[in-house]
């Protein structure tokens, strides 16, 4: 079986399949997380009938993920190359140099161009054929993926030729995947991959279910249930399946993994299809002998292939500046050529009879048409001076960056997270140096700053708080206030397992049965409570019962109202829960620990092992029938389950955000509501994540009438989700509040220290979170983002004035009012901020703004004010923001302030922000793939940002700056010597250097050392980079690639070229050896070229901060290469015949080789000396402070981290050893409006979705179907 799987394609912009992809879908440039607009129309598929499907011409099932194939490689690759302006320019120059007006042999321009193209093409081929997987998708499913490299092409071949059983002539025939067609009926065996998107028809399992693993799609390794339509369960054997003649009407191919709308028209009935019946390519079958399915989408039309990412490739700011530099060079070139051209027009004269200009002479030298002479000379000179544009610059930079990202960033042990076994991953090599210039970091909170490790920490039941733990945030807050908090010793009852960190003797070990909970009783929390209120003092027993009953409702709600899948042994110790969000797992785990052990889920039932109070502690297994699941999504912010007790009681359990639950509570009970709200706020300020629990008893009549509407909504083809929401609204009302849960969201390791370091580096960290303001502020405190010394500006929509207007309900009025309020606030804050800024030692400023206000603040009229205010703030916290707003804030700073931004996040809700920023960083490891797939860099921990930015980013920036400026310098110097010579040749455009010298100058004699510098140059060690984060500011200010720097280099070039030209020519004027012989042109120019090569290479050494032996080898090698070349060449070529021997026979040669480079470098040396002495860069000061220290201390630090685990690390390490079960959905924070309902549809799949499932149940209760074997 082919282990290799189609990978979702990498980040680089690829136009790969566009040509071969003719679906009505607008474009293949699709980004995960953004659902493509659906193409209009349906697709009608006739199952099991190839002829009927023929007219539609569905795509075949073969795939190709390579960018090129044998035939297209050369044309396509060359086309890609010539999309670069520089290459085009050189092509033009090469063509020009073939014409007679060229002073140079075509070789001058053709050789470097072809070498550059060759290198680029080899690199392309390398990337395409043996590619680093840019995405993580598919990593888990690549058994032969021992290294990161796979051969794409080979892999495609293997996949396309994998065999699959297809139904033909009432038999299963093994065909290769690529032969598969839409409408085919196929059989997939256990552990096999689905070859295409299938409609699930039948399975060997009872109840027509099968289990699939979706690791390839979303990285989740937990099993998911798919369930076939009941009507198709029988078509399992070949003879039966042959009879299956269904017609599938479904949506056009699209990239939304979790939605599907379609109908199966079968035996004259229309059956609605849902994602529950769809088996996607990329998934594999588990725990099921085999399944039978009909092919719906094939090949590149499958959902997984349509999710191939074409992230628009980002270009770094530095590169855009480089473009400007290149433009400046073009301008210089033009000016130089113009000067030369004018000169030639003036110079040309018949008086130079030895030029024989009076005969029929070519236009380019014809003195009678001076204008034509000038014009043609212009072209001549362009070809002559073409070396001013560094042709190998782009390819060199690309190679440098490629190695930087694949070898340095990806393999940095400092950024390897042992607990999750995740190294850092640079998904693009375009942005390495951008990392060194980041000024603003936008961070998600959950899963990024915090661990997305949810632990049930506290709860409030019926107005009573349980749970004795103290959160780190509370500890921190207390410490800030000077209160010493003793760490509470864990009592013996404390149970700490994954997801559960709770201790309260009143509840643990069944103690809740004795919990009187009087507070609860005074609230009418239960049906009995009315009675209780009246007879409160009379019947203590009833009170007791009532109190416990509400606790029981609480636990039952936890145990029933969820979408968690149990896995493993059905014992409390061994069971593991597969949950879509860690919150849910934590809640179910909590229920387990309280004695409501949820241990089994069937499609219709939830089995709970309860310790009932009535039975006096005896254990009883209770099966609750799940009738409906009303799923969670970000608009609903709640989740409900309708269940039927064994005794027939119908209850709706609901959990969700406090705001939405409170809106739907039954009247009365104000005390409980108030108390619980207070508790919610208390939990929130302790940094806990809260959920409200509520329930409602339903009468059978109410339920039936509602269920009918629900069924209707469920089977509607259009706007299904919207209708479902509306129907849900009908039943989710008159709820009775039970209480609330509080889950601790643990801070990630090293986050506060990292943020502190980033602050010192001059980077401003903004937190953009969907959480509540209190939670956000508290996390900000805990992370050192805000402290009490700061002046906080809080712009919140939760003011009385706004609430009042909101209560009036007029939307227009609300909008107008809030906008006014926000404007007022902004103005006030801005004035205040400016006041503080004017004072010398004013406090640092912090801004907290919530999503609603932000919406108005982002209005074009207020945007400038917001920007001004926020840029003056030390830190900014935006809470309750939606993914879109995250992106808006990011681009506000990116575009408005023109600062370099970095977004970091881990969840689907961060995708837009990650894509909006200059640099997107995804948190990989425990979490899902969405953010990583959209990101440019993936790291396992927030704290690795320190390494990524301060070490890799800074170095990359420094190196790339050096490489660019050096390229600029060396080419300018070289070309200028040529330019000076032009003046003394009558502006004829005579070349100073031999053709081959000129053509190899860029690609051989000066090519390698600069790459070595681009790879190895290091101003201060990694540990010093982190010890002195202030060094990073040089990158933010772009100190090393300003115009001033460029001009300095340009002066140096002018100086050096003058030295080369004049020293060499002047000193060569008289007899040059003791036998009085005189040098010719080529002797002089070879002399000059030798000096240039030596100087330019030595100049490189002068700009190095660290010199490894590779520097010596490459610099020495380049100079040596020149001499070797000239020795060989001067034997072979007539122009420079024996020039080097002539030269080396004179003492003059040696004197000049000593003198000229030193004089040329003297200027730079003086400049460097003065600069270093009087205007040192920051890094130079640090270098000097630490100049006597060895560089090796970095390793020691690394080993400490690696070998000594703190208890906490050990714990999380142990957790990481557990089977991976955390889902991709970051902190599926129920209380946050920020999360997209990206996976919402998926969450429903565990429970029967179809209403008719419920209806069926009466007749078909657990009648196991014995699968027929063929």
């Amino acid at each position: 079986m082919s282990g290799g799987w189609e990978r979702l394609r990498g980040s680089r912009s690829r136009t790969t399949h566009d040509s071969s992809f003719h679906t009505p879908a607008p474009s293949r440039t699709v980004t995960l997380g953004r659902v493509q607009p659906q193409a209009p129309g349906h697709r009608t598929i006739y199952c099991n009938d190839r002829e009927a499907n023929l007219p539609v011409r569905f795509k075949g099932n073969s795939i190709s993920t390579t960018k090129y194939n044998f035939l297209t490689f050369l044309p396509k690759g060359l086309f890609e190359q010539f999309r670069r302006v520089a290459n085009c320019y050189f092509l033009l120059i090469s063509i020009l140099s073939m014409t007679p007006i060229s002073p140079v042999n075509p070789v001058t321009n053709v050789v470097p161009l072809s070498l550059v193209l060759l290198v680029s093409l080899i690199k392309e081929a390398f990337e395409d054929w043996v590619s680093v997987i840019h995405g993580c998708i598919g990593l888990q499913a690549l058994p032969f993926d021992s290294s990161f490299a796979i051969k794409r092409f080979q892999n495609d071949m293997v996949i396309n030729n994998t065999l699959i059983d297809v139904l033909q002539n009432e038999k299963w025939v093994a065909l290769p995947w690529k032969k598969l067609q839409v409408g085919d009926i196929i059989r997939v065996k256990q552990d096999a991959f689905f070859p295409a998107d299938l409609l699930f028809l039948a399975s060997t399992n009872a109840d027509g279910v099968c289990y699939i693993e979706t690791a390839n799609l979303d990285g989740e390794t937990n099993l998911k249930i798919r369930k076939a339509l009941e009507r198709t369960w029988d078509y399992l054997t070949p003879d039966k399946a042959t009879e299956f003649k269904g017609e599938i009407q479904c949506e056009q191919p699209n990239n939304s993994l979790y939605t599907f709308t379609g109908n199966l028209i079968f035996q004259k009935q229309t059956l609605p299809l849902s994602p529950n019946q769809i088996l996607l390519r990329g998934c594999s079958l588990r725990n099921t002998e085999y399944i039978v399915g009909a092919v719906i989408f094939t090949g590149h039309e499958t959902k997984v292939m349509m999710n191939s990412m074409n992230v628009p490739s980002k270009r770094s700011t530095l590169e855009r500046k480089l473009d400007k530099l290149i433009l400046a060079l073009f301008a210089t070139l033009f000016i130089m050529c113009l000067i030369g051209a004018i000169g030639s027009g003036i110079f040309i004269n018949r008086k130079y009879y030895y030029l024989s200009l009076d005969k029929a002479v070519a236009t380019e030298f014809n003195p009678s048409n001076r204008f034509a002479v000038a014009a043609l000379t212009l072209f001549t000179l362009i070809t002559l001076y073409s070396t001013i544009i560094p042709i190998s610059l782009y390819v060199s930079i690309e190679m440098i960056k490629f190695i930087q990202s694949t070898q340095f960033i990806n393999k940095d042990l400092h950024m390897y997270h042992a607990e999750t076994n995740t190294p850092a991953l640079a998904r693009t090599s375009n942005l390495n140096e951008e990392l060194g210039q980041v000024e603003y970091i936008f961070s998600d909170k959950t899963g990024t700053l915090t661990r997305n490790l949810m632990e049930f920490f506290k709860c409030s039941i019926g107005g009573e708080v349980y749970g004795s733990g103290v959160t780190e945030i509370e500890l921190g807050g207390a410490q800030r206030n000077g209160i010493k908090v003793q760490e509470v010793r864990k009592s013996s009852t404390a149970i700490h397992e994954k997801g559960f960190n709770f201790d309260d003797h009143r509840l643990m070990r069944g103690a809740w049965r004795n919990e009187p909970n009087f507070d609860t009783c005074k609230d009418r929390a239960f049906v009995l409570s009315i009675f209780i209120r009246n007879y409160l003092l009379k019947t203590v027993l009833l009170v007791l019962v009532a109190g416990t009953l509400i606790i029981m409702e609480f636990f039952r709600c936890l145990a029933i109202c969820h979408t968690v899948l149990p896995e493993g042994d059905e014992s409390p110790e061994k069971i593991t829960y597969q949950a879509a969000s860690p919150d849910e797992a934590a809640l179910v785990t909590a229920a387990k620990n309280f004695g409501f052990f949820f241990y089994r889920r069937t499609p219709t039932m939830i089995h709970v092992r309860e310790s009932h109070v009535e039975k006096m502690g005896k254990i009883q297994d209770v099966a609750y029938e799940i009738l409906n699941v009303l799923e969670f999504n970000s608009t609903r912010k709640r989740q409900s389950v309708v269940c039927r007790y064994p005794n027939g009681r119908l209850v709706l359990y609901c959990k969700g955000a406090d705001t939405v639950i409170y809106e739907r509570l039954a009247g009365g009970n104000d005390d409980l509501k108030k108390v619980t709200r207070a508790h919610l706020e208390q939990f929130g300020s302790a940094g806990l994540r809260t959920l409200c629990l509520a329930y409602r008893d339903l009468s059978p009549d109410t339920y039936e009438s509602w269920n009918e509407k629900f069924i209707q909504a469920k089977s509607s083809l259009r706007d299904r989700e919207k209708k479902l929401d509306e129907v849900a609204e009908l039943v989710e009302r008159d709820l009775i509040l039970i209480g609330s849960t509080a889950i601790e969201d643990k801070l990630q390791e090293g986050v506060p220290a990292c943020i502190e370091t980033l602050f010192r580096a001059g980077i401003k960290v903004w937190v953009l979170t969907g959480d509540k303001m209190e939670t956000a502020i508290n996390i900000a405190y805990a992370c050192n983002l805000i402290n009490n010394d700061m002046k906080q500006f809080i712009i919140s929509s939760e003011t009385d004035a706004i609430r009042e207007v909101e209560n009036r309900g007029d939307q227009v009025e609300i909008a107008r009012f809030i906008k006014e309020e926000v404007k007022k606030e902004l103005k006030k804050c801005l004035e205040e901020a400016q006041h503080y800024l004017r004072t010398v030692s004013g406090p640092k400023l912090a801004l907290v703004i919530d999503g609603k206000c932000l919406m108005y603040a982002l209005d074009p009229t207020l945007r400038v004010m917001l920007l001004n205010l926020s840029l003056n703030c030390h830190s900014v916290v935006c809470c309750r923001v939606s993914p879109l707003q995250k992106a808006q804030v990011t681009s506000l700073v990116k575009k408005g302030a023109r600062k370099i931004t970095l977004s970091i996040g881990d969840g689907a809700n961060d995708v837009s922000m990650i894509q909006a920023a200059h640099i997107g960083v995804g948190i990989s490891g425990l979490e899902g793939m969405q953010a990583v797939m959209a990101s440019d860099f993936a790291i396992a921990q927030f704290r690795f940002l320190t390494d990524l930015l301060l070490v890799h980013g800074r170095w990359s920036y420094l190196r790339i700056c050096k490489v660019i400026t050096y390229f600029f310098y060396k080419n300018l110097t070289f070309t200028l010597t040529q330019f000076w010579f032009t003046f003394q040749t009558g502006f004829s455009g005579q070349r100073f250097y031999d053709d081959w010298f000129q053509s190899l100058y860029n690609v051989i004699f000066t090519a390698l050392p600069v790459i070595i510098v681009g790879l190895f140059d290091k101003d201060v060690s990694a540990s010093l980079s982190k010890k002195y984060p202030e060094l990073y500011k040089e990158g933010i200010r772009n100190v090393f690639f300003k115009w001033r720097v460029v001009i300095t280099w340009a002066w140096s070039s002018v100086y050096q070229s003058l030295v080369f030209y004049h020293f060499v020519t002047t000193s060569s004027a008289s007899g040059k050896n003791s036998s009085g012989k005189i040098f010719g042109l080529w002797d002089v120019s070879t002399m000059a070229f030798t000096c240039v090569v030596i100087t330019v290479n030595l100049r490189l050494l002068m700009m190095c901060n660290s010199i490894t032996r590779w520097h010596y080898i490459s610099v020495g090698g380049s100079i040596l290469a020149w001499f070797l070349f000239i020795f060989v060449y001067s034997v072979l070529r007539e122009n420079v015949f024996f020039v080097i021997f002539v030269l080396m026979s004179t003492i003059y040669f040696y004197l000049s080789v000593l003198l000229v480079p030193i004089v040329a470098l003297l200027g730079d040396f003086i400049y460097q000396g003065i600069q270093r002495c009087f205007f040192p860069y920051d890094y130079q000061i640090i270098q000097e402070i630490h100049r006597h220290e060895p560089d090796d201390n970095t390793r020691a630090g690394l080993l400490d981290v690696g070998s000594q685990l703190t208890p906490q690390e050990e714990r999380s390490y142990a957790i990481s050893q557990l089977p991976r079960e955390l889902s991709k959905h970051t902190g599926f924070a129920f209380d946050s409006p920020g999360y997209e309902s990206f996976f919402a549809a998926q969450l429903g799949v565990y429970a029967p979705q179809k209403a008719w499932d419920v209806a069926r149940r009466a007749s078909m209760k657990s009648k196991p179907k014995t699968p027929k074997r063929n």
Partner: protein, 408 residues
């Protein structure tokens, strides 16, 4: 060190793997390359280094410069400009007409030897404003043709001097050969003629490799216009050293070419009479013509440039080293002095941000009132700081009032 790190990093790896025996660890392998810890020397351009480097250059260059100058001064050189002199006074209004006419162009000039010249004495002619490096000129030759007789017709580059009308290819073809210099000089002292040895004036490589032994001049100067000298058609090109010298085109429009050697010593104050045939037309383009007699030394001909350059650079470097030394002592930079990082409450920020000078340090004190400003700090910063600090006090009155840097 390396073996230690390798083993311990393996250990770390092992512990990572032990818990997950089956799982493929993605822990990157340690290598000095990927961890960017290649051993490197870190040159820091401290003032000490700057001064040493300058001194070194000075020490090396000044002697070389002196040696070069001495070598160059040993050379005796006599230059005689003759392009105007050798035109009869009457013809000086239209020199071009004169030079193109068939008139007798014999011209006699005399040169006085300023200093004893030891043989061999090299005779050069020097032309001015002659663009031997013009693009049209440089490429107007056929190296193939010069090398071998079989490539005689390889004259495509030589236009317009490629083919003589109806007589086949010109050998040697092209403008360079066509414009071969044709003034001749004969020398005499006290009516006793001095032989000019015209052998061995071309580079050996030219003679042996570039100009063929079996290539004979053909149709040379046979066209309508005669550009310069004619060649003896019976002598192969490999013997035509004048041509070789001429065809090694000069780099600059002012150039010297070797004419021949006089192989006797010339005494001081001796007057040399030169009879020259002033054939070559430099008058069209106002070019100067000079006759040069020169001896050589180990360095070659007279050229002070190298010597002066070496000497100047050496002197400059010496001056710079002095300058840097003085600056180094008078106004040292802080970082060279004390280890700021060891100061108790040093945070780096202020120093790096603003204090590249002494005033900056004061800012640092402002920002960190807790800095121990006492003898310790002064010890760190050196006494010069104290002076500057006191001078800067005026502008920091506010701080002094607040007592922050009162101790200073």
């Amino acid at each position: 060190m390396s073996s230690h790190t390798a083993s311990s990093s393996n250990g770390g790896n092992g512990s990572g793997d032990s818990g997950v025996p089956k799982r493929n660890s993605k822990r990157p392998k340690y290598s000095k390359f990927t961890q960017q810890e290649l051993p490197a020397c870190k040159p820091i351009l401290t003032p000490r280094w700057v001064v040493s480097a300058f001194l070194l250059v000075a020490i090396v260059f000044i002697p070389i410069g002196i040696a070069c100058l001495i070598g160059s001064r040993d050379v005796v050189e006599v230059v005689e400009r003759y392009e105007t002199k050798c035109i009869p006074v009457l013809n000086r209004t239209d020199k071009v007409q004169f030079i193109q006419s068939a008139a007798d162009k014999t011209c006699r000039i005399s040169m006085t030897i300023p200093k004893r010249m030891k043989q061999p004495i090299y005779v050069y002619y020097q032309l001015d404003n002659f663009y031997q490096n013009h693009r049209r000129y440089v490429k107007s030759r056929s190296d193939e043709q010069l090398k071998s007789a079989s490539k005689e017709n390889d004259t495509s580059a030589c236009k317009p001097e490629d083919i003589a009308n109806g007589r086949g290819a010109i050998v040697p073809c092209g403008l360079i050969a066509w414009s071969l210099f044709n003034d001749t000089y004969s020398f005499s002292r006290q009516n006793q003629s001095l032989t000019v040895n015209k052998m061995g004036i071309a580079w050996k490589s030219d003679k042996q490799k570039r100009f063929g032994k079996n290539v004979f001049p053909k149709n040379f100067q046979g066209g309508g216009l005669v550009g310069g000298a004619t060649l003896n058609e019976s002598i192969p090109l490999s013997e035509q050293e004048d041509l070789m010298v001429w065809m090694r085109t000069a780099a600059l429009p002012t150039f010297r070419k070797l004419y021949g050697k006089i192989e006797v010593d010339l005494e001081e104050k001796e007057v040399i009479n030169v009879t020259l045939m002033n054939y070559y037309n430099t008058y069209s383009f106002n070019g100067k013509k000079k006759l040069v007699l020169s001896t050589t030394s180990w360095i070659g001909g007279r050229n002070d440039f190298l010597g002066i350059a070496y000497l100047t650079v050496g002197m400059i470097c010496f001056a710079l080293s002095m300058g840097f030394t003085i600056v180094y002592f008078v106004k040292p930079r802080l970082a060279f002095y004390g280890d700021l990082a060891t100061l108790p409450s040093y945070h780096g920020t202020e120093v790096l941000d603003r204090t590249k000078n002494v005033h900056g340090i004061l800012l640092m004190f402002k920002a960190h009132p807790s800095l121990p400003i006492g003898t310790e700090a002064l010890h760190h910063f050196g006494t010069s700081l104290l002076i500057v600090t006191l001078m800067s006090m005026e502008c920091l009155k506010h701080d002094i009032d607040s007592g922050r840097i009162l101790m200073v």
